[in-house]
Symmetry: C2
Subunit: 246 residues, 2 copies
């Protein structure tokens, strides 16, 4: 493999690697952030995977400074964990965190449904249905990675329709973390969201039936959570007394 750099516009093409020559430094960073974020959400980087600064810096063709900035952002969104002198690794959510995240989704996503039902437009519905279709196709084609990302994107898009940017951004973060939770506690085989559900949900929303949508979302999320196999902390600080006193 010859090409070591990943994101378009690598600096080795600007004639000698002059430091700050690129006109679009900010967009570049954003693209790299998306790259890493996507890789985590799609489970191409698994929980616990170490993310060395040097390696990332080399792969993306920027210096460690930029990588550190991105890593910090990911840490604040709790997609990566930053341990003081050990560097960054993909977060491995605990069982407690998983419960908190799904409780939070239950509260916020369900609470948003009435407003979404009130505000949803025909274009919104169309866009959502297309996402549901693509998700189903990905699932049928065995592309779990794509399906997971599309599912999170569906929930995120839904939240944005409410018009409340603060809550929508929060839901997006919760969905990202949910992807991580699925990676740790999900059973291979069946994915969290049944894409059939997503289609039905859009149906309730366009008919303006907020209460019905709320109840459906609630069941939908409960179903996802129930599909997890949460075997509490099987290797994190194993309880030796428990194990050997039996």
């Amino acid at each position: 493999m010859n090409q070591r750099q990943v994101v378009a516009g690598d600096k080795s093409s600007d004639g000698g690697g002059r430091p700050g020559k690129n006109g679009d430094g900010a967009e570049r960073h954003e693209a790299i952030y998306q790259s890493i974020s996507d890789a985590i959400i799609e489970h191409r980087l698994k929980p616990g995977a170490r993310l060395r600064e040097d390696a990332l810096a080399e792969v993306f063709g920027i210096s460690r400074t930029g990588i550190r900035k991105i890593l910090q952002r990911l840490a604040l969104e709790q997609l990566v964990t930053l341990t003081p002198r050990r560097g960054a690794s993909v977060t491995r959510p605990t069982a407690d965190e998983a419960k908190d995240v799904f409780d939070a989704r239950q509260m916020v996503e369900c609470g948003l449904m009435p407003e979404v039902a009130r505000r949803i437009t025909a274009e919104d519905a169309q866009s959502l249905r297309e996402m549901a279709v693509r998700e189903r196709e990905a699932l049928r084609a065995g592309e779990q990675s794509a399906a997971i990302k599309l599912s999170a994107a569906f929930h995120g898009r839904l939240a944005w329709i409410s018009g409340n940017a603060t809550l929508a951004a929060f839901v997006e973060r919760l969905c990202s973390r949910s992807s991580l939770i699925l990676a740790v506690y999900g059973n291979a085989g069946h994915l969290g969201c049944e894409s059939h559900d997503h289609d039905d949900l859009v149906g309730y929303l366009v008919s303006g039936n907020g209460e019905r949508a709320l109840a459906f979302m609630s069941r939908h999320l409960k179903a996802i959570e129930a599909s997890l196999s949460i075997h509490a902390e099987e290797d994190e600080a194993p309880d030796l007394f428990e194990i050997f006193s039996g």
Copy 2:
């Protein structure tokens, strides 16, 4: 004023400013973060105030690198705004953002009340009452800064009792942003929260009456929001046609 550095343990005391000598770099950063965050929440730094990296670096006795890290964290919490080549400034919330934040608080804080009522212990109640007392004292003494911070801290602490760390952290951030909103849209004279309210709320909670607490919290938040004078966007991109065509 001779002493230019603020946080304890300034590096000029270690004999010449050797770079990484300090043993507790992380705690130092945390302290600086708290310093700036508090200054913003207490309105000692007003919305729109510019935060130059050099100045902060000199004040706190660390280099710009560390300041940038802290500024980024504050930016992700939306307490400061980072404009690409212009540096950092204290965020000036728009009217829309204010509405979003209070809607979000309405949903999350109210939604948390039943669980809080179920879990609250005697010590929790005691601690909350003490905070309410201190807040009232600060208010009576005319120390608006302290009162504002205590009020935000009260709401944050309340949320943590629910046991859901994710939602509690979210509420804390919403409260921080609320402080900012009060700074812009609040009327001088009467502060957002009537401290009397906080005492009453604790009463409902310890009696296990979650529904009552929920309703009270809802009214409480509505009262705060109603006390704002949201004159939508009076200088941000003024509509010249509107103004001069009359």
